[in-house]
């Protein structure tokens, strides 16, 4: 017997609700109640639901291999219906445009990330979610497989592959190749330790830290900081802290636990899943996981997973014990660790605030003082030079002489940023000697007088164990091209309060100048500053091109 019209209508209604459930994973309470009522009452609706979920699961399994562009197979004649594709009712064109009914997605800690504008929509490569889902699907079996193979072969779960002045408590062996005891609580008293897990993850542990290796694919961090790289087969690596479980979804990430048991999680590449734990051994209570993507960070404390407004902080984690050949100073100002080529960052020399700041132009400074830059661990601080002033957190001072005490624009690093304009209306330029330092492959920072920035060289050495700081190099010049007669600016580079480069006047016609300031192992703070020599900061577009530390 054919179903009645009312029954058919209900079935169609149920199908529409199920599709919405599949795609949004949320329905209004009324819609959900309606779907549930239909399913409770009608076995055929339940069957429809179950078969649609089976289709949903099958499509998820195929994620990453679903071609977007039509293929030659498109013209295949449907053996079931006798119709070719061209005869099948077009999905979109024939649909009458209806008023939009947009259901609000459920609130989450992080909004859905917009699709990258440059993503090739016709890509046949697995999509972001496809990769993540496949990794999730495989992670448990993969982890189990690795675990059991380790058991069978009795290999250590983790091995030291590198160390930098690492000292473990109880005289434990921290030399290269040493096995790390499983299940034993270990304290790293000083230095850094790089450990390779049997499952493939590489973990760098920074002192002071207390941790244990729990299996070839997992560790526990009671306090301190670690960074983990879990590539390829290492996906699924787990870090448990006193209040959170961090699970790799194919990524590089950092985890920190402070003395109060607060957990920080920072994602440098890929994604991780963060779930709260009610107790250290309570895997079943890992609830409400949050998926973090590259550049994001959270703090887990007092039962709350709170997103970090400043995002991931690569400067806070040692990520490798292999020293880089040089450090990109522009990247440091933008929040990177000197190796990530970040561009577009800013520091307000009046406050120490950093990040994507709104442009501020004529800036009067009534009482210039030294300001720490809390969000950038390798930038000790900043200031507006005027007279004798403190220039680093150890209290070194320098007398810059009388300046106008004002600034124009923040300390800006690029790439590009909202350009200020010259007096004749021409926009700012980052071109020196025919080289545009705003273009890819280059970098620069703008230090329009009066401004000063101090880098913490000791923090850089801690961030990059084994890295030897020999000198600070940069091109410097005034890019203003409509120079009126005026007093030109002064440029200084100081180390621990003592000038190592001091040029009193720099004109646009001087073109690019090369700075090479030697550094020694005992140097702690590097300060770069510009002043207007007491006249006016106008027309002083001082940029440092391709600045680097070697």
């Amino acid at each position: 017997m054919n179903p009645s019209s009312a029954e058919s209508d209900e079935l169609a209604e149920a199908r529409a609700l199920i599709v919405r459930l599949l795609w949004d994973e949320s329905l209004t309470p009324a819609a959900l109640a309606r779907l549930e009522a239909l399913m409770l009452r009608r076995a055929d609706v339940r069957l429809l639901y179950l078969e649609m979920m089976r289709l949903h699961a099958a499509l998820h399994q195929r994620a990453g291999s679903l071609a977007i562009q039509p293929t030659l197979e498109t013209a295949e004649v449907d053996n079931d219906t006798g119709m070719s594709d061209m005869m099948i009712l077009p999905a979109i064109r024939s649909v009458e445009e209806e008023p939009e009914v947009v259901e609000e997605p459920p609130h989450t800690a992080f909004p859905r990330q917009p699709a990258p504008a440059e993503r090739p929509r016709s890509s046949l490569l697995p999509g972001r979610r496809g990769i993540a889902l496949m990794a999730l699907a495989a992670s448990v079996i993969l982890a189990m497989s690795i675990l059991l193979v380790q058991l069978a072969t009795r290999k250590p779960a983790a091995t030291v592959v590198a160390s930098s002045d690492a000292q473990l408590d109880s005289g434990l062996d921290a030399s290269q190749g040493a096995a790390v005891a499983t299940g034993k609580t270990i304290s790293l008293v000083s230095g850094c330790l790089e450990v390779k897990f049997g499952g493939g993850a590489d973990v760098v542990i920074q002192a002071p830290a207390t941790f244990s290796v729990t299996s070839p694919v997992a560790m526990a961090l009671a306090s301190g900081r670690i960074s983990a790289t879990a590539a390829g087969a290492a996906h699924g690596f787990v870090v448990d802290t006193p209040n959170a479980r961090v699970t790799d979804l194919g990524t590089e990430f950092g985890v920190g636990v402070d003395s109060a048991g607060t957990t920080e999680v920072h994602v440098f590449q890929g994604q991780v899943k963060v779930a709260q734990l009610h107790s250290a051994n309570d895997s079943a209570s890992a609830q409400n996981p949050t998926i973090l993507s590259v550049g994001q960070a959270v703090v887990v404390a007092a039962g709350i997973v709170k997103p970090s407004a400043t995002g991931a902080a690569p400067q806070a984690f040692v990520r490798t014990l292999s020293p880089p050949p040089s450090l990109d100073v522009v990247d440091l100002i933008c929040g990177g660790d000197g190796t990530t080529s970040l561009r577009t960052g800013a520091i307000d020399q009046r406050t120490g605030e950093s990040g994507p700041l709104q442009p501020a132009f004529a800036m009067d400074v009534a009482n210039p003082i030294y300001h720490p830059v809390p969000n950038l661990p390798v930038v000790d601080g900043c200031f507006v030079p005027n007279g004798k002033i403190k220039i680093d957190s150890e209290g070194h001072t320098f007398d810059f002489g009388i300046t106008s005490g004002t600034s124009f624009y923040q300390i800006r690093a690029g790439g590009t940023f909202p350009w200020p304009r010259q007096r004749n209306g021409e926009p700012f330029t980052a071109v020196l000697g025919g080289v545009d330092y705003s273009q890819p492959g280059h970098g620069f920072f703008l230090l329009h007088p009066n401004a000063g920035i101090t880098f913490d060289l000791a923090a850089l050495r801690r961030l990059h164990p084994g890295f030897k700081l020999d000198d600070f190099r940069s091109v410097v010049g005034n890019t203003h091209t409509f120079r009126l007669a005026n007093q030109p600016p002064r440029i200084l580079v100081l180390v621990d309060g003592t000038p190592r480069y001091d040029r009193w006047k720099i004109w646009p016609k001087d073109g690019p100048l090369e700075i090479d300031v030697p550094l020694t192992d005992s140097d702690h703070f590097l300060t770069v500053a510009t002043t207007d020599n007491g006249v006016s900061p106008r027309y002083d577009w001082i940029i440092f091109g391709d600045p680097n530390l070697r």
Binding site: D24, A67, A91
Partner: protein
């Protein structure tokens, strides 16, 4: 009779003289005593061969993919822990579904109300009826290959945007210059075509 070559039994019978357990040695704390690599492969093979079906089963009871994923991780751990109890001549999928059902119940109990989509009564009904549907998920995947080819390019694009690219409805509507309502209508039609196509093929295979 327990699973032949059960790693626990093998350990007891053949490794008794080795008075060291890998649990002691490695501190894994999951009750593993000793694992023979061949037997480990057997376990992984049987779990892997049922992974898609079991995931479909769990997904049907907690429709959110992330929830199903959480539960699957717990289920896999329990499967391993209880592997000793599994009777090799019995139905692994049915046994695994029982474990999954308990885990779904636990999960629903722990979750806040807004994360629970269906009532207990409906979940119980679905759990009973789901086994037979989920049991054919592998056949369904095979049929899906053919059925996807029967979609027109726009329908295929919709599916790929959703499952490859994780695009939201709003993003798809925006990128295609259509209203959200129109996209939903198109999706209903696309899912209906795939559903009916797969159903025909499964019925044909069963005939």
């Amino acid at each position: 009779m327990p699973w032949p070559g059960n790693p626990f039994k093998i350990f007891v019978e053949t490794q008794r003289s080795v008075a060291i357990s890998s649990e002691q040695q490695f501190g894994l704390g999951i009750g593993v005593k000793m694992a023979d690599s061949e037997l480990v492969e057997q376990f992984i093979r049987i779990v892997a061969s049922h992974e898609a079906r079991l995931r479909c089963y769990v997904l049907s009871l907690v429709p959110r993919w992330a929830d199903a994923d959480e539960i699957m991780q717990e289920v896999n751990v329990v499967l391993w822990q209880k592997f000793e109890q599994f009777q090799p001549d019995s139905n692994f999928f049915a046994w695994a579904c029982q474990i999954a059902r308990f885990k779904v119940r636990d999960y629903r109990r722990k979750k806040s109300r807004e994360r629970v989509i269906f009532s207990d009564a409906l979940v119980d009904l679905l759990a009973d009826e789901c086994v037979a549907v989920a049991d054919r998920v592998n056949d369904s995947q095979t049929a899906l290959d053919s059925c996807l080819r029967k979609l027109n390019p726009e329908q295929r694009q919709l599916i790929a945007l959703r499952y490859n690219e994780d695009a939201s409805i709003n993003q798809i509507a925006s990128s295609l210059g259509r209203t959200v309502g129109a996209i939903y209508k198109a999706l209903e039609r696309t899912h209906q075509l795939l559903h009916e196509c797969i159903k025909r093929r499964l019925e044909g295979a069963s005939a």
